[in-house]
């Protein structure tokens, strides 16, 4: 098998329209919409849920590639990544059903591949740092806020399902922290590169100030500091993330 595969090999059914994240954001801003769906209306909640569905599909594909691409990594690493594939495949099913619940359909909004690109790092340590700590950390922020909004609008279906997904994501962050440490033991240079990769992803997904420290209803994506602590992020890491959100550039 080809290992790893190129970014553009990601396979989709015809019903998906793929676009660059920057282009989607620019076209939405030009029409007077926020670049990233806020949670202020049923339409925007559905768009957010669709974006998460796409992210879960790419997370399943990314974890699957990690199982495939690193046959020489420790067996326990393969086990953790295989477990993550299973979790992500259930998340895809959950979000397909939630989209149905909200009256949407797969392909209702364009797909961007910015998450998938992050999942294509050639080094296993960089991949778990970027995906399990960077992207799954972002998922913790997004899902925590979605649970809050679901509770507020009185949607127990959305609330309960997303709460369980959030629990899985916390586990994935912990796996990421564990394997970042184990895979880079005795190799500070590799560890530094992996952490740089994660920080670069964190910076990109601050989305030019869209992700911020603040109340769930006041900011588009609020940083879930308590959940991040539970997932094993240090106070220093959380503080650094909050600081970077104050100076991020758009895309």
């Amino acid at each position: 098998m080809e290992r790893p595969i190129a970014y553009d090999k990601l396979a989709r059914e015809d019903r998906w329209v793929r676009m660059r994240a920057r282009e989607v954001a620019e076209l939405k801003i030009a029409q007077g919409f926020p670049p990233f769906a806020d949670l202020s209306s049923p339409d925007s909640i559905r768009e957010r849920v669709h974006g998460i569905l796409v992210g879960e599909i790419q997370a399943m594909e990314g974890a699957g590639r990690t199982v495939c691409d690193f046959p020489d990594a420790p067996w326990e690493f393969t086990m953790d990544m295989a477990r993550q594939v299973w979790d992500e495949s259930r998340h895809v099913e959950i979000y397909l059903r939630l989209l149905e619940h909200l009256g949407g359909y797969p392909g209702e909004f364009p797909e961007t591949t910015i998450l998938w690109r992050c999942a294509c790092a050639e080094d296993a340590a960089a991949r778990v740092a970027g995906v399990n700590r960077g992207l799954e950390g972002l998922a913790c922020d997004v899902f925590n806020q979605l649970v809050h909004i679901a509770r507020k609008i009185g949607d127990p279906i959305l609330e309960r399902a997303v709460e369980f997904v959030l629990a899985d994501e916390i586990t994935h962050v912990r796996m990421g922290s564990k394997w970042l440490t184990k895979l880079t033991e005795g190799d500070p240079d590799r560890r530094r590169k992996a952490i740089d990769f994660q920080e670069n992803i964190d910076e990109r997904f601050n989305l030019g100030g869209v992700r911020r420290d603040g109340d769930h209803e006041a900011v588009s994506i609020s940083i879930a500091t308590d959940v991040r602590r539970m997932a094993g992020f240090t106070e220093e890491e959380i503080e650094r993330l909050v600081k970077t959100t104050q100076r991020s550039q758009v895309y």
């Binding site: 399943m60 699957g64 590639r65 295989a82 992500e88 099913e93 364009p110």
Partner: protein
Amino acid sequence: MAHPLAGHFSVDHSARLMRNYRYAVERTLRALGGWIALTPELSAKLLMGRHVWDLAQLADAFGARLPELRAHAQVSEPANERVVAFMDAVEEPEAPGQTVERLVGVYRVLKPHLLASYHDHLIRANPVYEPPTRRLLLRCLGDERRHIAAGTTILGHLCATPALAERALAWQRRLEGLFAAAGGVTGEGLPPAPVDTAQAPIETSDDAREFVRLEKPLASWPMPEDLRAALEAFGGSLAVPNVGALARWLAPGVSLDPAREVLTAAALTSHRLVAFARLGHQRLVKWRLAGPDAAVTVLARWAPGPDGWRVAMLDVGRIEALRPALPRR
């Protein structure tokens, strides 16, 4: 009647079988993991995603049994080089259009054989001193039955035409030949299929019928009536192609020139609207145009304006040859 302590397998032999099974299972789980990204169909992605973890647990259980049989833990070993060649062939179909071949290799050839091998091993393993192996094989049998049932459902859904069904059968025959030459996963031959396969219960949490339902596209996309009329007119003109009729729908500054060459180069006889996405007030619309030998994808961004809906961006993809070739061998 055989003595209750009569045995068929030595400890070393049993350990070798564990390594042989683990080799096939480990390679399969890595292949399924890698294929998820290469497979377009959502139902097949979900199927693979579910089974990667099941197989990892089976590989782990085989690997954990090994030290109990005086062998190194978590080691995989092919029975012979022809088993390696068979697994290479199973992994070979990587193109987006080869989902059927990917699933056939795993769900119609390898897994039914593993099921038969585990069953054969189970009935020959001594019930007095090999219960750890027997329990492990029973667990494997349950998982494999469930996987085969789910894979069969998805394959039934994907093999929607006689041509696809024929392609699937041809690939199955080819792999079966390779596997027979290898003597199966253990190199000791192909045991007969156990008779009770069809009666296996299917867990609802792993219900492939639900994966198929979730994959099914909408019967009709929700859209304003004036846009629906515009899309019908535009789509009808794409396949002909009627350049004058198409030009009528273009917003000022949008040119048909880059599309004209592609649309006129291939004999395209049918058109189908395959995607309809929202982007603010605008809509992204994708058509699939196909002829006997080629297909092309057309993407247009439609924007509402004072004169109604108009194409604000038009992108025509590359011409694709239809009928992907079977994998080599």
